[in-house]
Point group: C2
Chain length 254, copies 2
């Protein structure tokens, strides 16, 4: 496993962004790291799982990452399978990604194991003493970021708080999601869109029931799959910031 920085770091409004690649088991894992201006020896880190058809730097991932960084928390995102820089030529319009991901989700259960291994390699690399060090770790990922992220949260004892949601006990990996949900023991905020047209709220409620942790709460908002309100993005960032024990840094005005 090796970490390679790609290009120069860029700093804007107190947030430093750096592209990286990690080589693992013959795969290249393309990622982005966002770092706060004020670093501590144990800067917390949030892993961001993007949504289906998006990529590691899609608008809402970037916005959430910057929010974390402005609260003194580093954030990292990698491209999902067949997404972003894992594609020859980079991100497409999203349609091809969704079609190809759906096929892999159905036909290739090892995809999930590979993504879990990718994320654990990223965490190992970023927690190196000369990068971030071994501070508290959180997970933030909705929809595909839960399909592929819930297994990461279940497998990774370093993750002490997670935001998941826009997903239910349904789809090709339903049984795995149920099994993994039972293994989650960390603090959890789970988001539901009341009128979700992709993953019905009743299935989301089923999944919420299965989480093994007692430190869980569910926030539901009206609207479709993509209509998560701004206040819930803010609340989810605040939730992880609180649980990763960053009490002093305050979010800037946006």
């Amino acid at each position: 496993m090796s970490l390679e920085w790609i290009g120069d770091a860029e700093t804007a409004r107190g947030v430093t962004e750096r592209r990286f690649d990690i080589e693992r088991a013959g795969r290249t894992v393309p990622g982005v790291l966002w770092e706060p201006e004020a670093r501590t020896p144990e800067t917390p880190l949030v892993l961001l799982g993007h949504g289906g058809s998006g990529h590691k730097r899609q608008d809402y991932v970037l916005a959430v990452a910057r929010r974390f960084a402005r609260r003194g928390i580093a954030a990292a995102a990698i491209d999902g399978p067949v997404h972003g820089d894992r594609r020859a030529g980079g991100p497409s319009d999203g349609t091809a990604e969704m079609v190809e991901f759906s096929r892999m989700w159905r036909d290739d259960p090892a995809m999930t194991d590979q993504m879990v291994a990718d994320w654990r390699a990223v965490l190992d690399a970023l927690q190196a003493p000369d990068v971030l060090g071994a501070g508290p770790v959180g997970w933030w990922g909705l929809s595909m970021g839960t399909i592929l992220g819930l297994p990461v949260v279940a497998a990774e004892p370093r993750i002490s708080a997670a935001v998941l949601g826009l997903m239910g006990l349904t789809g090709p990996s339903k049984d795995r999601l149920r099994t993994d949900a039972a293994l989650v023991t960390c603090a959890l905020l789970f988001l539901v869109q009341w009128d979700d047209e992709l993953f019905a709220r009743d299935r989301a409620f089923d999944l919420f029931t299965e989480f093994g942790t007692t430190d869980k709460r569910l926030h539901a908002n009206p609207g479709s799959h993509v209509q998560v309100p701004a206040e819930e993005f803010r609340a989810s960032v605040a939730f992880l910031a609180k649980h990763l024990s960053v009490g002093t840094a305050r979010e800037g005005q946006r």
Copy 2:
């Protein structure tokens, strides 16, 4: 209608508490007002509906009232029917209150109308220029505080934000709750206890669906009817504080 202050005001840690009675249509409505130290010409006011078997000054009502007052927001509570000082001899152990309330809920639909009228009289009296003045108004009430409070929120255009919950589309006033829910147009936070043994979560979800306002969100937490976690009490106070436009006052450490 007349407002009479009972006994002396008492101030502790920046919160002034005053007992009052309001005479309305031959009824005495016993209440408590909590006022912040720093008053403005239009101090916001939150109306607090207590739970079944409790009273206007039960522990969690008192705690919530003080939280509001420390954020610069006045709060008022009155006893529900057959509760608190509406009983000869004052509050009982709660059992008699529950039994008698359940009977009235079943047999006397006018009970709800009477409580709505009581609350509107309280609001009129407290918004007098020599008391609080006509600032923004919120509602906070769970369980019986929703059974009797949702009709108040539906009827009272002065209420611009509400916290309701621990209740569902069920019980003797189910049809009225559905009708009133559709009339709610203000900002709403609705609380659900995942393992509520009194009002099943599925019925709570039914009620949430019926609210007419699009500015609504649902927060669910594990546990029984009475196990609303401290963080949700805090969040519900913060929600109303935000919506009643009190941006400057910050809650003290508790």
